[in-house]
């Protein structure tokens, strides 16, 4: 009960701030929290990255091994994206197979990478119909500080940029860097009492009505979108978020030059 009272108070407080064009951590509505990306943190993985986005912390590891292609794409490599909301990361997460939130996060990350054609899957064919490179993207959420979506997308693409395909180990020629052709960046916004704020903190995420993630590419086009949450957007709000997301993704993409 007292927890519900607290949540009510917190909600009222955040609402009152929004009315005054303010956020609890002093950010502007279009401002992200600080981001720290580190790559090559797990030597045993073929690629890896950790992302800190404000209080959110997660790790992505890429494992690569040869395997059978899907029957309908015999000459293409395979991407398998998995995300776990391990109970370490939040009192709200439980052990067990991925629930709907983890599945949604993994699938939106996957679509962003896949639909931007970021990875040249045809370049990952070894023997057509028989042997291709399987790319396992595993994202481990360690600390849930809100907006896991953007952090997960950043970690996935950062880890992919770090990948060396271990061809030699399997006797399939020389090792080579995974060719990455685009850097899709996801930007998430939420609607709170009619206002739109970018990169919601965990408390903002909790009181938000609807959430929208827009993943955009180097050329400014959009490769994935996902609305979630029990709430509504007007078409105008969608277009506004898309604009902000494309702008913001350009700034974030510069992060990757630093790596």
């Amino acid at each position: 009960m007292s927890e519900e009272v607290m949540n009510g108070l917190k909600k009222d407080y955040l609402y009152s701030l929004i009315l005054k064009n303010q956020r609890a951590d002093g950010r502007d509505f279009e401002e992200s929290r600080d981001i720290v990306i580190k790559t090559n943190i797990i030597e045993k993985a073929e690629g890896s990255a950790s992302v800190k986005l404000g209080d959110t912390y997660l790790v992505a590891g890429i494992k690569i091994q040869p395997g059978t292609p899907f029957p309908d794409t015999p000459n293409k490599g395979v991407i398998i994206t998995n995300l776990e909301l391990i109970p370490m990361a939040s009192p709200n997460f439980e052990a067990g197979p991925p629930g709907e939130n983890a599945v949604e996060l993994a699938r939106v990350v996957d679509r962003g990478i896949r639909e931007s054609h970021s990875i040249d899957l045809k370049g990952l064919c070894i023997v057509p119909g028989e042997n291709v490179w399987l790319i396992f993207i595993d994202i481990h959420v360690i600390d849930d500080g809100g907006n896991l979506m953007d952090a997960a997308c950043l970690a996935a693409i950062a880890a992919l940029l770090d990948v060396t395909v271990p061809a030699k180990k399997y006797g399939i020629g020389e090792d080579f860097k995974l060719p990455i052709r685009d850097i899709p960046i996801a930007v998430t916004a939420v609607e709170i009492d009619g206002s739109i704020v970018i990169d919601p903190s965990i408390d903002e995420g909790r009181i938000a009505g609807a959430k929208l993630t827009v993943t955009s590419n180097i050329d400014g086009s959009i490769s994935a979108m996902q609305k979630s949450g029990v709430g509504l957007f007007t078409p105008e709000q969608i277009n506004y978020v898309a604009d902000v997301a494309v702008r913001r993704s350009e700034e974030l993409r510069e992060k990757f030059l630093e790596l």
Binding site: E104, S221, I222, S223, A224, V230, P235
Partner: protein
């Protein structure tokens, strides 16, 4: 089918539709006995059933919410609904579709009227042909109304896609398989968006136009949904002759208002697509 060279020839799509045309849609309301509300819906080759139970008790109890109803949505594909037999049970795709579908209809339900209880929505896909999630949402929305669940309004859903570089409404299977973008949308009668997903490639200008096309598509579907519910209502009334006189007045005026805003009917209007 292999990829055709062109999807739109002289402004006409492979199945004869215009770019902004929906597939045919057929709606039957109240088709099930056990469920509190139900709907069978076909559009294009999609065949879906929606059923609603509730408000009812929540088991186990710690899943109850003290101040609102819990809305649950289970989207399921029958094993025989697709080309290759699908293993029974939920997969990652159906878990995601269930989640976004729930979030598409829940904003319209007065959940605060039913604290501690559950409203269960079940969508079964009997045949799939691109657009099953939008079909399911359209059917679920009607089933909710049929179950007399208090709602702010019906939700209507269709997809906009891109083929041959051109935006088209309501992708059918081949357009979906080889298309350049797919964007399922669900909307309130006021044009507010409760579902939005997209994969593929859209410029910001295309997104803007796509949202406008989706709005038009959802409007058409809304009218079909409303028509189907009124049809059901009239049929019920006819079964209670004593009430007919009073009712006819009501329904006629309703019908008039419909006819004044639409010329769509079941045979010549369209369907939905969402993947």
């Amino acid at each position: 089918m292999d990829k055709p060279e062109k999807f739109i020839i002289d402004g006409i799509r492979l199945d004869g539709r215009k770019p902004d045309e929906l597939r045919p849609m057929k709606i039957e309301v109240g088709v099930l006995n056990r469920a509190d509300g139900s709907c069978y819906l076909e559009f294009g080759k999609n065949k879906v059933l929606a059923a609603v139970y509730g408000p009812r008790e929540v088991h186990p109890r710690h899943n109850q919410k003290p101040t609102t109803a819990v809305v649950r949505f289970r989207y399921n594909m029958a094993s025989f609904s697709v080309e290759e037999r699908k293993r029974p049970g939920p997969d990652r795709r159906s878990i995601e579709v269930s989640k976004v579908s729930r979030e598409a209809v829940e904003p319209m339900i007065f959940t605060e009227y039913f604290p501690k209880s559950a409203i269960d929505i079940f969508v079964e896909v009997l045949q799939a042909d691109a657009g099953t999630r939008t079909a399911g949402i359209n059917a679920a929305s009607i089933a909710l109304a049929d179950a007399s669940i208090p709602m702010r309004g019906l939700v209507s859903s269709c997809a906009v896609g891109k083929v041959d570089g051109e935006l088209v409404l309501d992708l059918m299977k081949d357009e979906d398989n080889y298309g350049e973008a797919d964007m399922p949308v669900a909307m309130t009668p006021d044009g507010e968006i409760t579902l939005l997903q997209m994969d593929g490639n859209l410029t910001r200008e295309e997104l803007k136009k796509a949202l406008e096309m989706a709005t038009e598509g959802c409007k058409q579907i809304y009218k079909l949904q409303r028509e189907a519910l009124i049809g059901r209502y009239k049929k019920e009334l006819e079964e209670h002759k004593e009430d007919v006189e009073l009712v006819e007045t009501i329904t006629e005026s309703e019908e008039t208002s419909i006819e004044s805003t639409t010329t769509v009917n079941i045979d010549e209007s369209g369907g939905l697509d969402d993947e």
